[in-house]
């Protein structure tokens, strides 16, 4: 079945090679995202899950949910991409010839991520996850400036190198299943059924290797080093997409950890998860403190959030898992709004640095407010939905150790402080009357003064507001179907 999907998508993407106008290419990308959204919603509403089509296509609540998050992100990114790439081309940062490549990678990224999520076979999942890395790296290095290529390369090498370790883990899993069942298998469902009969030591070894691979994909410290560069150098759109790919890593870890839960090595595995999570949060919090680059700040905040997700998974109670899943959704919504706004500021000032931001409320009031509200949301203040998610994960972490809760709490406060520190310093600068005006940055291609407001195109504004509004809505009202869906996932993963 996955073959048919790929064939259909291949034909669809081949269409994308014909159009010459930007509008058509963008419409195709939006259409692709909307098509996936429609398919996912239909599957969620009509199918009696879990279902399996053919040997490799497998749909259950978890992968449909992660797909829904991914597709939501793409649906918002597609209209934003139009305005953003247009202004990149106007200023000569993006070669118009590369536009087609950009959209090709954009669409391919969605297709490969979908194929990865829905393949029942771990090996297929691995290879598609690798392909998403390649597509995302193309998107990161699309500007063909030296720094971008650097960031793209770093991304490919770190993630792919780590993914080879994940492959080692798969080989171990395959051996395990061959010993327990007589014939080797890498299918999620079969492994889940038989995981209790596997040797715990070998299972732990394979989990560790798989964790290294998908941890790097998710941006877990110490494999996170690609992330700040990719976020800071890539055009905002691409940063969003590579951010979405982080969920794919978490998805892989979630699945593999579910295999281990029934075996004797579960405590060691959850220790690994919690330790890596705490390390990520700590490293991110301290890197954020004196961060002057807005996109880097957002990137490190991603590392921090992935760390918290890991801790949630490692705690291993159904309640913690429930909120981890909810967290994955909200994190994407808020992070996208933040990155969208950061992208608008980058267009305005031509830089991500704190020092270059001036008169922000006069020039870009909407983006400024989005950033402020987004920061309030991302650090987990009520009424935004990250508050209950963080609250319950912290509450559950007290069962592991109260010191753990205390440590996480302190680090989270540190992260919140760095956000407010950044915003206060960046947004409080106002040009006084009579002060020297019109000193635009003369960097070759940027001639216009940055006292003229950058005209934000409607396609860029709507997704930004939409994502933030959706996040706020989720904070005030928890929809019943979402609760049912999340509980179904918790049950399916074997948490009772």
């Amino acid at each position: 079945m996955i073959r048919f999907y790929l064939l259909a998508m291949g034909a669809f993407l081949a269409l994308g090679l014909f159009p010459k106008s930007h509008r058509l290419m963008n419409a195709l990308a939006s259409g692709n995202a909307l098509l996936h959204l429609a398919l996912t919603c239909t599957a969620l509403l009509t199918l009696d899950l879990p279902v399996r089509y053919g040997p490799s296509l497998y749909l259950d609540h978890l992968n449909l949910y992660v797909e829904l998050i991914t597709v939501l992100g793409f649906c918002a990114a597609a209209p934003y991409a139009k305005g953003y790439t247009e202004s990149l081309m106007e200023e000569g940062e993006l070669d118009p010839k590369n536009l087609k490549l950009f959209y090709l990678a954009f669409n391919l990224l969605l297709v490969t991520a979908t194929a990865a999520l829905f393949s029942d076979n771990l090996a297929l999942f691995w290879i598609f996850a690798e392909l998403t890395t390649v597509c995302a790296a193309v998107l990161v290095s699309i500007l063909s400036a030296r720094e971008n290529i650097d960031a793209g390369m770093k991304y490919v090498f770190i993630v792919s190198g780590a993914m080879l370790f994940a492959f080692l883990g798969l080989i171990f899993l395959f051996t395990l299943s061959a010993r327990a069942l007589g014939e080797g298998t890498l299918s999620w469902t079969e492994l889940m059924e038989n995981a209790s009969s596997f040797s715990p030591a070998l299972l732990l070894a394979s989990f560790t290797f798989v964790f290294i691979g998908f941890g790097a994909k998710a941006g877990i410290a110490p494999f996170h080093t690609w992330l700040p560069d990719a976020y800071a150098r890539a055009p905002s759109v691409s940063a969003i997409l590579s951010g979405l790919m982080q969920n794919l890593g978490i998805y892989g870890i979630l699945r593999t950890y579910a295999l281990l839960r029934v075996s004797d090595s579960a405590p060691q595995a959850s220790f690994i998860l919690i330790a890596a999570g705490l390390f990520s949060i700590a490293l991110a919090a301290f890197s954020m403190l004196q961060q002057r680059n807005l996109k880097r700040l957002i990137a490190f905040s991603s590392v921090e959030h992935m760390g918290l997700l890991l801790i949630g998974i490692g705690i291993g109670t159904p309640l913690a898992l429930f909120w981890v899943l909810f967290y994955m959704l909200v994190h994407v919504l808020v992070k996208e709004a933040l990155l969208f706004a950061a992208g608008i500021l980058h267009r305005q000032y031509g830089s991500n640095m704190r020092e270059d931001v001036r008169d922000v409320f006069k020039l870009q009031p909407r983006a400024a407010w989005t950033l402020i509200l987004g920061s309030v949301a991302i650090v987990g203040m009520p009424p935004f939905p990250l508050f209950p998610a963080k609250f319950f994960i912290l509450l559950e972490s007290a069962e592991v150790s109260p010191y753990l809760t205390l440590a996480i709490l302190l680090l989270l406060i540190l992260a919140a402080a760095s956000f407010s520190n950044f915003l206060l310093k960046a947004f409080s600068k106002v040009t006084e009357e009579g002060e020297e005006k019109g000193e635009g940055k003369e960097t070759g291609y940027r001639k216009k003064s940055f006292h003229d407001p950058y005209v934000v195109r409607a396609g860029m504004r709507i997704p930004t507001v939409f994502m933030l509004a959706l996040a706020l809505l989720l904070g005030i009202w928890f929809p019943e179907p979402l609760r049912v869906l999340l509980e179904a996932i918790v049950l399916e993963l074997g948490y009772v």
């Binding site: 090996a123 297929l124 390649v134 030296r146 390369m153 492959f167 080692l168 080989i171 040797s199």
Partner: protein
């Protein structure tokens, strides 16, 4: 029929050569010899799988040897060679973090580490001595490849480190279990895509944007490689 014991002896000798090739990739400074070493290493891998086929008689091993020969002995080295000619870098002199001597000492440690790790993990798994050693060599090769990626600066060398890591993974796969052949094909496809991507980007790294475009045009990657 050749005596299996004799074949096992030959395989063990090949193991030693594989390790030597890994050490050479870590320490050699000339780019073309790194590439040659990688080619030899892939060839050794193919030879090992042919010998194993002679012992075991599993036809997947023969297919794997063929695939390795076609992709990693011929196609990928040829491509990288072309890139090396284009970017006109002959030597990779810079090492970050680790000097070759330190790396070599470290890699001895890595071999010991993978030995202890695997003997613990496979303790309850009845692997014959040869297969166990194969797995150890595979894992050490992977770790040494990682060391190359860490310590070398030029992108091409990093890519070769990645490739040799992948050789190690395949080696472990051959000896620990019988992976389905389709898996090996998938990995090779993945490798080719990665090599393509990284080497195109590598051309860009050492040049400004204008030069980069000119170089890409000269490479003729997109127009199917007309006269170079």
């Amino acid at each position: 029929m050749i005596d299996p014991l004799y074949l096992e002896g030959v395989i063990k000798i090949l193991f030693v050569f594989v390790l030597i090739s890994a050490a050479l990739i870590i320490s050699t400074r000339s780019l073309s010899s790194v590439l040659n070493t990688y080619t030899v290493q892939s060839f050794l891998l193919a030879a090992v799988s042919v010998l194993l086929y002679l012992i075991d008689g599993k036809s997947e091993l023969l297919l794997l040897a063929g695939l390795t020969l076609a992709s990693k002995v011929l196609l990928i080295p040829h491509f990288i060679n072309r890139i090396e000619e284009k970017i006109k870098i002959r030597r990779d002199l810079d090492f970050t973090y680790l000097e070759p001597t330190t790396s070599l000492l470290l890699s001895i440690g890595l071999i010991l580490l993978s030995y202890t790790f695997l003997s613990r993990v496979f303790g309850d798994l009845a692997l014959s001595r040869l297969f166990f050693f194969g797995a150890v060599i595979g894992l050490s090769l992977t770790l040494m490849g990682m060391l190359v990626m860490f310590s070398r600066k030029k992108v091409i060398t990093k890519a070769l480190g990645y490739l040799s890591m992948e050789n190690g993974v395949l080696m472990l796969g051959i000896f620990v279990t019988e992976l389905p052949f389709i898996l090996e094909v998938l990995i090779v496809i993945d490798l080719i895509i990665l090599v393509l991507l990284t080497s195109i980007l590598a051309v860009g790294l050492d040049s400004s944007i204008e030069e980069y475009r000119a170089k890409i045009r000269k490479l003729q990657i997109w127009n199917g490689g007309e006269a170079l």
